[in-house]
Symmetry: C2
Subunit: 464 residues, 2 copies
């Protein structure tokens, strides 16, 4: 590997554009091909505004590339969940007991634009839009493309190919179809899909409900969430089964049934979504899938990064953060000066894969937590205790959510293992009423720590 290698990146989404920027900063020659038009020049105001949660792991990678402050300017901090019950009552649940720990609502498009613009400032980067990758010959590192405008088909021959082409990755599909090696691969869909709706800004352009929270309407079998946008609107997402239960995407096909569903299940939200019927009937229903695979690379020739390697469901707000953290980890491996791309790729996957597997599983867990548990009395009591522990012992206690979201020095796999044990310890303490409200917090902390360690130890023995 040397700086004269021709590097091809397939996909200029969030991960691909940050990768291009970082590789350019390190002096590599990078060509990026993206299937969609340049989102900085096309009017997408008619489309939907999609926002994502940016948190510490994402910021760490953005800092590495020198763009964290630019991103910060378009962030809306959210300090906790605001939970709406069926009667319209709300209660809040902080994400952390430490002040200033928050997640951030950010526009996917605006952040992507920042990254593209920064990457293009480097002479050694070229970005080509409207070029759809159709397949990759992995043995000869040749990628085949089709131009959306001219319909012309062409091929790019390069030394190394990075596939950052998202959950539907064409490079990954080529791994599966070419069968040149044993490719472990999974795509798993939830029985729920999602649909995006909008709460517009009020007449003054302000947010109609708190913009310092992520809003949740948990209803067990389904839920609604809302994240604020800079223009005063909220992007609302409904998560609902395709075909099970009284209400589902298959049977919500008439205006009457849609109205009935929202009137009975989300009455306070309904009042804020003026175009509910049009939006519900016209906006597409999206699928929720988890993708895992291995190996991510083929010889010294190709590698998958970001969603292409590990697409996850959105319920931990970690999809973008995990993809950005890929860049942090990959960059650290490059620092080791391992000499050849194959060793770099192997070392990277070995360091990274168990952590992306973990966040995939955590994100699935959180679907249950968000649509169900947040309204469960035992769970609520546990969260109150955790917040008290974090507030009192900000350097000693970290909830699973805090480890995943705010502790970018704790790998996802460690956060999962320790966090699950800690959750189990706390929930069983609360369920047993095995602690006294009068007990001081220091004793409680000690008890939780002891129980957590015992659980980890017993699991260790059971796993021999």
């Amino acid at each position: 590997m040397n700086k004269q290698d021709n590097i091809l990146i397939i996909g200029a989404g969030l991960c691909g554009s940050l990768l291009a920027l970082r590789l350019a900063q390190r002096g590599y020659k990078v060509s990026v091909y993206e299937s969609r038009p340049d989102l900085r020049t096309v009017d997408i105001s008619a489309g939907r505004s999609i926002n994502l949660a940016l948190s510490d792991r994402g910021f760490k990678a953005l800092r590495l590339a020198g763009v964290a402050e630019k991103a910060r300017e378009i962030c809306i901090p959210m300090y906790g969940r605001l939970i709406h019950d069926i009667k319209g009552n709300t209660f809040s649940s902080n994400y952390s007991g430490r002040d200033n720990e928050c997640i951030n609502s950010i526009s996917r498009g605006d952040l992507n634009a920042i990254l593209l613009t920064e990457a293009e400032k480097h002479e050694n980067v070229t970005i080509h839009f409207n070029k759809k990758c159709t397949s990759v010959n992995i043995e000869n590192t040749i990628a085949h493309f089709k131009d959306y405008h001219t319909k012309e088909e062409f091929s790019i021959n390069s030394d190394v190919i990075f596939g950052t082409d998202g959950a539907g990755s064409v490079l990954r599909k080529s791994y599966y179809l070419e069968r040149k090696f044993l490719f472990s691969y999974s795509q798993n869909y939830l029985s729920h899909g999602y649909k995006e709706l909008e709460i517009p800004a009020d007449k003054k352009g302000n947010h109609q409900i708190s913009n310092a929270h992520l809003h949740i309407w948990p209803r067990g079998a389904y839920m609604l969430i809302a994240l604020p946008n800079m223009d005063g609107s909220f992007t609302v997402t409904l998560f609902l089964s395709y075909d099970e239960g009284e209400y589902n995407f298959d049977n919500l096909t008439s205006e009457e049934k849609i109205t009935e569903f929202f009137e009975t299940q989300f009455p306070d939200a309904l009042k804020l979504i003026p175009n509910i019927k049009e939006e519900f009937l016209n906006n597409p229903t999206g699928a929720l899938g988890t993708v895992k695979c291995s190996p991510w690379h083929y010889k010294n020739k190709t590698i998958l990064l970001g969603d292409a390697a590990h697409a996850i469901v959105p319920f931990y707000g970690q999809g973008m953060n995990a993809s950005f953290e890929d860049i942090t980890v990959f960059d650290a491996v490059l620092n080791e000066n391992l000499g050849d791309w194959e060793t770099v790729f192997k070392t990277y996957e070995k360091a990274r894969k168990h952590n992306t597997d973990a966040i995939a599983d955590l994100a699935l867990d959180n679907f249950q937590e968000m649509k169900n548990h947040v309204a469960n009395p035992l769970f609520k009591e546990k969260r109150i205790l955790e917040m008290a522990l974090e507030k009192e012992f900000p350097e000693e206690y970290f909830s699973k959510y805090s480890m995943v979201t705010f502790k970018d020095d704790i790998p996802y796999a460690v956060a999962m293992k320790k966090g699950r044990a800690q959750d189990k310890a706390l929930l069983n303490l609360v369920a047993d009423a095995d602690f006294k409200q009068t007990d001081n917090l220091r004793n409680l902390l000690k008890k939780v720590q002891e129980e957590t360690n015992e659980i980890l130890q017993e699991d260790e023995i059971a796993g021999l």
Copy 2:
């Protein structure tokens, strides 16, 4: 659905031929297409003799189809593991504390032949060999084939298609490639492959080592196993990493290195395998994969059964048994008279899928147990205790292995959940030295049961 429906079964392996037999017994019209030649007419003595473990779940399905006794005649019962250490010392570990509970070594080919012959006794069954399915049009239930002899390509149009075409199922691949629905799918390979070798019979045609055991040479990173055949030989299987460790398939390429490997690691086995070098160099290295997917069916048109729906690794000896149990469960669903194939298929998957997922996971666990744990002192002590409990309380205590293997009335998923909790309880008791050898067994049983229930309860609370 009615008895005049034309049913096409793709694949006449163990699952397909038992399915054909059972559907014929119920009065259905069945055509079976198989890619390989008729194993009853082709001389396969030059090939390898492959044997499998047949146990209670398998027998239950064979009884349903009236062929259990025919199968019993070609069984060699194995009552436990015989474990060989690196110095050639052996110790045995029974599969059960109850007398007469055993698993059976049986020839795949001979059992398949029995099923084919029984199926063909029915006028409403036709079986076609050397016809390779190349793809399936699932919307129009048209399967495309190629004849291996004539090279002719042809298509079969039927009312319903059953895919029993094994781990590499063409019907399943058509689900993936046609993208007519959200198809959750995973194929996961172990980092280990396998290679088959042979211990021949002695000059009198007798077995050279105990034929009442499944032999294991556990070495941590790899292992050898051997199952007896009716002709006095043993089929030996080496499980070894492709590319990790001092010895692996990638570096065992010279006769010297192969001999060194067996001389240092399996000296007693080496003496019994006269053609080690030829066999090692000429026999293929097989991959070990787990396949899960969902949904198994498409509308009222097609369904996957057996390995095509749920291929598993061989370490629990349950692959064939799970496929046969598919037939038991499917037959019970047919008894419900649900009226149409789509309802039958949905009902079947709902009843069955969580159980085949469970046996897939259990089989992966058992790889660790066989190559590693069986030689671990803690594990050995646990097994001794379990055998004592089963012997003393044959109606009250069932190890995880016993529940999976001998209790065909306990679904795999229940056996996994309860068995794992029980293993954890026992291992932690043994590790804590938290029990007295002098304690009577009744007290120990009570303690294990209490701990097991507590573990299950705490898990329940942690899962809310």
